[in-house]
Symmetry: C2
Subunit: 135 residues, 2 copies
Amino acid sequence: MSAIFCLLLFFLLSPLKVPAHQIPHCLIKGLPLVRNLSGYPQNNFGREGLSHITIAGAVLDGLKEVELWLQTFSPGSRTPIHRHSCEEIFVVLKGSGTLFLAPDLHMRQPAKPNEFSIFPNSTFSIPVNAVHQVY
Amino acid sequence: MSAIFCLLLFFLLSPLKVPAHQIPHCLIKGLPLVRNLSGYPQNNFGREGLSHITIAGAVLDGLKEVELWLQTFSPGSRTPIHRHSCEEIFVVLKGSGTLFLAPDLHMRQPAKPNEFSIFPNSTFSIPVNAVHQVY
């Protein structure tokens, strides 16, 4: 990867128990429904080179179906090789890198992943259970 | 509304029939998996003042759970008063306006909606079935 880049990620969540008849204007008391993204707390979950911000999700908004993240990877850092039981959409705001994507969900032996260049103002999506890595 | 603004919207979709074992690198032949957002086709669905771009979704990507849209409303235009059976997250990229949101899902008579100012770099989410309008 040649530079820092930013990603927006959207995840489908497992169901959470939130009363269906109430409209939760915000689950965390004191936070407004409409919030300014400036000054949102960042986390790196112990992974060097990562900056993660949850823009909207289960904890802040009581969402049960979708989350929105903003992530920044420093040069040389990468996601793990991973998969998940939800769909994911990426929008690359800055920087460039490589997407590695397994060619099939039901391969019986290891195979070379497909490689795709990613660049500023590009978008791509990851199907459910597709093994992938962003580098 | 005082100015043009742009929104990103994320919708949960009804299930579509896409083979689960194949990883659809793109459902529309000839379109790459990683795509440049510049030059994406716009539509207004016959509504003056609206510009709509589907960044990722069912048709382009075979997504079954989530869509990502970029919308721009010209000054004075607005969404209909509406609701939907999926969650929605907004990120306001430019401009300002007002969000109208019904206070409860099970009201038995009309009531004044809650009003929230929206502004650049703000975010908010709409729960399932909550009646709302962005103005």
